[in-house]
């Protein structure tokens, strides 16, 4: 068994083991053990990758190729570069944190953990695939458990939210499928056989007309998952209804699939299309950045605030990807990682606050710093990280993006960049608004004694907080790791 396929096999084994487990206690132990193994594997993968990279100069390493369906030349083709390794590590951490946060999932625990790990399987598979079709299959595997997770374990108008989320994402995948098939059917432009393999397609000069046609489809197909304005509306409703761990996984990991897909498929395979269309999507994403931030200012529900904040931050990812240069792309990947940890942390904290106070309305909360200091302090830290405070991951990511975006000298890019930068002020406004209203202020009588934070909550929080700080304090190695992997991609665009 090669090192990458394990990332699909281990979750599947975990799921099988979960079927044997009984009750909450057993299933959570099994889920935790499975996720721990995955995390260990992720760390080992980082180590192995760095070692392998030193001697191997390919775009992807640890490649493996098994024919899956011969008639259409579909392969189970896997391989990783620095970007996927980083995102896999992110996934492993967030999944484990999610398991810890759901430690007390009373309701159908077994089924919950199964769905959670199915989702994780899809995500891992997506990140390791280099075959478009396999990638798409894993993408669907990741998206579909969402419906169950929200529909069954959610709160509020959960059926509606689940339906909306699933339908919008399915609609996007329909568009995406057209895009992928378009790429596939044009992959013989240089006379070779039709193929789904990304690396092989990248060698082919897909005709410009096809690129122009299929780039927007592929881009939108992925970007809906990355909450591209104006296709973001599933995210606030979905997050508001989803249970905590699902919000974490969804915002933290699943939404990254969008940016990753845009990068790996749309940008890499259709560079000319990307250049041709970039102006349009830059407008959308820059609008999304500022729009999400401004939208968050007016919300009163914590989860909504966070969802809009995600729209803004992920808009930044897409914006950076569209800048088509190395610095901005590094920033985009860093932002994906950073946002993944941060937003997962946020949702975890919100879940804890909600679990204790039974409300998410910031006007109803108040003075929590005194009552549940640990959660509140971490919330402040997460808030500071989110508004791009140096020393946390958000800052390094955003600076890369801004500096990268500034490499374009024309007026259009300048204006878009400045619009995006100005979102950091608005971000400060809504973060501080939440901190001011919810955490500070006089203690409200109904929240005088809330339960203390528990060990599993602390573990979950620390799992997320440590990477945020690590990325922020010492970004050099990770940014170099990513930049190294971006080089082959950027060459396609420069040509």
């Amino acid at each position: 068994m090669d090192i990458l396929s394990l990332f699909v096999v281990v979750p599947v084994i975990t799921i099988l083991a979960l079927f044997l487990a009984k009750g909450l206690k057993q299933s959570r132990i099994v889920a935790m053990a499975g996720s721990l193994v995955q995390l260990a594997m992720a760390f080992h993968l980082v180590y192995a990758y760095v070692k392998e990279r030193a001697i191997n100069d390919d775009i992807m390493v640890f490649m493996r190729d098994v024919v899956w369906y011969e008639d259409f030349n579909i392969h189970y083709a896997i391989g990783v570069d620095g970007i996927s390794v980083a995102l896999i590590t992110l996934t492993a951490i967030v999944v484990l944190a999610g398991v810890f946060i759901s430690w007390m999932m009373e309701d159908l625990p077994k089924e919950f953990f199964v769905s959670l790990i199915v989702l994780a399987t899809g995500v891992y598979g997506f990140f390791i695939s280099i075959d478009l079709f396999t990638m798409f299959v894993f993408y669907e595997i990741a998206v579909i458990p969402m419906y169950l997770l929200i529909g069954i374990w959610g709160t509020g108008p959960k059926e509606h939210a689940a339906m909306k989320l699933t339908l919008m994402l399915m609609g996007a995948s329909a568009v995406l499928l057209v895009g992928i098939l378009g790429i596939y059917l044009n992959s013989n432009a240089d006379g070779g056989p039709l193929t789904f393999n990304i690396l092989e397609i990248a060698q082919v000069n897909i005709p410009f007309a096809a690129q122009q046609l299929f780039f927007p489809l592929t881009f939108i197909g992925f970007a809906v998952l990355g909450a591209l304005f104006p296709f973001h509306t599933w995210s606030p409703d979905g997050h508001a209804s989803a249970p905590t761990a699902v919000s974490m996984l969804h915002a933290g990991v699943l939404m990254k699939l969008g940016g990753y897909g845009v990068f790996r498929v749309a940008m890499f395979l259709l560079p000319e299309g990307a250049m041709d269309w970039s102006w349009f999507f830059i407008i959308l994403s820059a609008t999304g950045v500022i729009y999400g931030a401004l939208g968050a200012v007016r919300q009163t529900d914590l989860k909504y605030i966070n969802a809009y904040s995600s729209v803004s931050h992920l808009g930044m990812v897409l914006f950076a990807l569209l800048m088509l240069n190395k610095t901005a792309w590094t920033g985009a990947i860093l932002q994906s990682l950073s946002h993944g940890f941060m937003t997962a942390l946020f949702f975890a904290l919100i879940g804890m606050i909600y679990g204790r106070t039974k409300t998410r309305d910031i006007y109803k909360l108040g003075g929590l710093l005194k009552v549940i200091p640990f959660i509140s302090v971490v919330y402040v830290i997460a808030g500071m990280a989110s508004l791009g405070l140096p020393g946390f991951s958000g800052f390094t990511a955003e600076m890369n993006i801004f500096v990268g975006a500034f490499q374009h000298t024309d007026m259009f890019h300048r204006v878009a960049t400045i619009v995006s930068i100005s979102a950091i002020v608005v971000t400060a406004v809504y973060i501080l608004r939440v901190i001011g209203l919810m955490l500070m202020g006089p203690v409200k009588s109904e929240f005088k004694d809330l339960p203390k934070v528990r060990w599993y909550e602390v573990t979950g929080i620390l799992l997320l907080l440590i990477p945020i700080t690590a990325l922020g304090v010492a970004p050099l190695w990770i940014s170099d790791l990513i930049m190294e992997s971006i080089k082959p991609f950027i060459q396609g665009v420069i040509q």
Partner: protein, 639 residues
């Protein structure tokens, strides 16, 4: 010369922060105070040692102080552009090191008394440590991005400290305001930095500031709207500095920031953080001076001058002693900015630069003293308002004396520290532009007046009946007062021009007697007026108030700047932008997406009627369909 140990100067407070912050429940208050104080003592000692080593043992080359850097790459942007982290040792950074560590140390000592019994005692020291770390990092920054990083950290520690009494709504609002206003300014700062980074290919101060280097000599190669792009960048950077240094019109956060504990006000909002803007301009002084022939520097001068006058006028009318001091701070920083703005570069022409740094130094001493003294008073009276005080000299002799010394110092009375630095500023302004000189002079007079108004209303004036008899503060609080009082007297005698100059080349500064005399006379007039008005309760203040009428009202309301901002943010941004966006999101975009869903639902609701369950209907549809299809097929294949 190896100065890499200077990295310890910021790191020690950071370690203190980590120790206290992570264990704030376990460490006893008494211990945490000592940890903070000793940590800072180590830092302060190291910076004194560095100053000694730098100024007296490092050889000057061609009579110029060398710039020493130790740095390492922190993050790569492009192949050439990267952020470094490191330390940069040159005269101004050393001066700032001394200022920051000294004031911080004294504030630490002072806080041990002031914060006694506070439930968040340990947390307070942790925050102080964090702030000191960030400020020192800022001071030692080797490049623009590093300065930005610590700039933000300083901002956040300021936020935490202003919001220290986090259960008090006004403190929360003030903290938020401070953070957001400075963040807004930082936005411009950031754009400026990125612009500079893009057009010059470096963030490094050494490269940027080299007067013969590529950057400065080639400023004209780019242009944007009639000015060099670099000029724009410098203006943007100055906006960032203005935000942190509370220059008009970004000053509105400073008075509110007084909601924080008084030692914090002394440390952050009087002596160190607020001068970061001045430091920033001074740091980039060669760029400001040479690029576009000092266009951006002119702006600095005028903004500084205006802010200084503006704040001084407001300060006269305020009733809260900390707000008076806050506006005074703003006014004095405006002074420093003005001094930088009017400065030249070479030799004696750079007197403005030297004066600015000198004033920064002395100001930090006496302003910290004033704040700490005010803190001592507030500690005793439990009120911020001047109306609640009076005749405190009887109860608090040490505070009285030290406060008086500080007031003399800020009023520019010889031989106190303020006199020397202020005199140099006025000399520089006089040489540069007469209107600015006039502004400077007026401000000097106003400063003397409002300062002594404050002094007399607190320590003299009406006999107030106190609920609890005020008493002198404990030794931990009076020691810093006394120390700073001494500094306020002797700091002026430091031959500053030997150490800190624009081109790093020492020169001999000497008093310009006529100008000094005028300045002193103005100051004295202010003091005398204040004496007449406020020594004993009189009718004059009321009369004056009447005489100025609406102008007084305007000044008292801080010229309605807060209301203006409030209007812009609340009414325009919130109601006219954010609200409609929320509406738009819900009713247009989301409604559209939902509409697709509910439209499908409705369509199916309608079409499901066709599924009536009557087999005849199905048959009818079938036969009808067959007929129609037949007709169509016949039509198609007829020919």
């Amino acid at each position: 010369m190896n100065f890499s140990y200077t990295i310890l100067i910021p790191l020690i407070p950071f370690v203190v922060f980590l120790i206290l912050g992570l264990n704030h429940k376990r460490i006893k208050p008494a211990v945490s105070g000592y940890i903070g104080v000793f940590g800072l003592m180590a830092s302060a000692f190291l910076s004194y040692f560095t100053a000694y080593k730098y100024f007296f043992t490092v050889p000057k080359i061609d009579g110029i102080y060398q710039q020493i850097t130790h740095k390492t790459v922190w993050m790569n942007f492009t192949d050439t552009l990267h952020i470094d982290m490191g330390v940069l040792i040159d005269p101004i950074s050393i001066m700032m090191l001394i200022v920051v560590t000294t004031i911080s140390l004294l504030v630490h000592i002072y806080s041990r008394g002031y914060m006694k019994g506070d439930p968040g005692y340990t947390k307070f020291f942790a925050f102080l440590g964090l702030f000191t770390f960030s400020m020192l990092g800022l001071v030692l920054a080797t490049n623009l991005f590093q300065i930005y990083i610590f700039w933000e950290l300083v901002g956040v520690s300021s936020f935490l400290l202003i919001g220290y009494y986090y259960t008090k709504p006004s403190a929360i609002i003030a903290a938020k305001k401070a953070f957001i206003v400075t963040r807004f300014a930082d936005l411009f700062f950031l754009i400026g930095i990125i612009t500079i980074g893009f057009y010059t290919g470096t963030f490094d101060f050494e490269t940027l500031n080299d007067p013969t280097g590529e950057v400065i000599t080639n400023w004209a190669s780019t242009s944007f709207m009639g000015l060099s792009v670099l000029t724009w960048a410098l203006i943007l950077i100055f906006i960032g500095g203005a935000g942190k240094s509370a220059m008009f019109p970004l000053h509105i956060w400073l008075p509110d920031a007084m909601e924080g504990p008084t030692p914090v006000s002394a440390l952050i909002h009087a002596a160190t953080m607020v001068v970061a803007g001045v430091y920033l301009v001074a740091r980039l002084f060669p760029m400001y001076y040479f690029i576009e022939d000092g266009f951006a520097l002119n702006i600095v001068a005028y903004v500084g001058g205006f802010s200084s006058l503006f704040a001084a006028i407001i300060a006269i009318t305020q009733k809260d002693i900390k707000r008076v001091l806050a506006f005074s701070t703003m006014s004095q920083i405006g002074y420093m900015m003005m001094a930088l703005g009017v400065s030249g570069y070479d030799g004696h022409e750079g007197v403005g630069y030297m004066a600015s740094m000198f004033h920064l130094f002395t100001h930090s001493m006496f302003k910290a003293l004033l704040f700490l003294g005010a803190g001592s008073v507030i500690h005793a009276v439990h009120s911020n308002m001047m109306g609640d005080m009076g005749n405190l000299k009887k109860y608090m002799p040490i505070t009285n004396i030290t406060f008086l010394i500080a007031a003399f110092a800020i009023a520019g009375v010889p031989p106190f520290a303020g006199f020397w630095s202020k005199d140099e500023i006025l000399v520089a302004a006089f040489e540069y532009s007469k209107p600015l000189y006039a502004v400077g002079l007026i401000v000097a007079g106003l400063t003397a007046f409002y300062m002594f108004r404050l002094y007399f209303s607190i320590f003299h004036g009406k006999k107030t009946a106190y609920k609890h008899t005020p008493h002198e503060a404990p030794a931990s609080m009076t020691f810093p007062l006394l120390f700073l009082a001494v500094m306020s007297v002797v700091a002026g005698f430091i031959p500053f021009s030997n150490f800190v100059t624009a081109n790093k080349e020492p020169f001999e500064a000497h008093l310009n007697y006529p100008l000094a005399a005028i300045a002193v006379a103005t100051g004295l007039i202010g003091i005398i007026l204040a004496y007449v008005f406020y020594k004993n309760p009189t009718e004059y203040p009321a009369k004056c108030r009447k005489a100025f009428g609406s102008f007084y009202k305007w000044a008292y309301a801080k010229f309605y700047m807060d209301e203006l901002y409030f209007f812009v943010t609340r009414k325009i941004i919130f109601n006219c932008v954010s609200q409609p966006i929320a509406w738009f999101d819900k009713n247009v975009i989301d409604a559209f997406m939902e509409g697709i869903g509910s439209g499908t639902l409705k369509a199916s609701e309608k079409t499901k009627k066709m599924q009536s369950g009557y087999f005849q209907d199905y048959a009818m549809a079938f036969v009808g369909g067959v007929v129609v299809i037949s007709i169509v097929l016949i039509y198609i294949f007829k020919n």
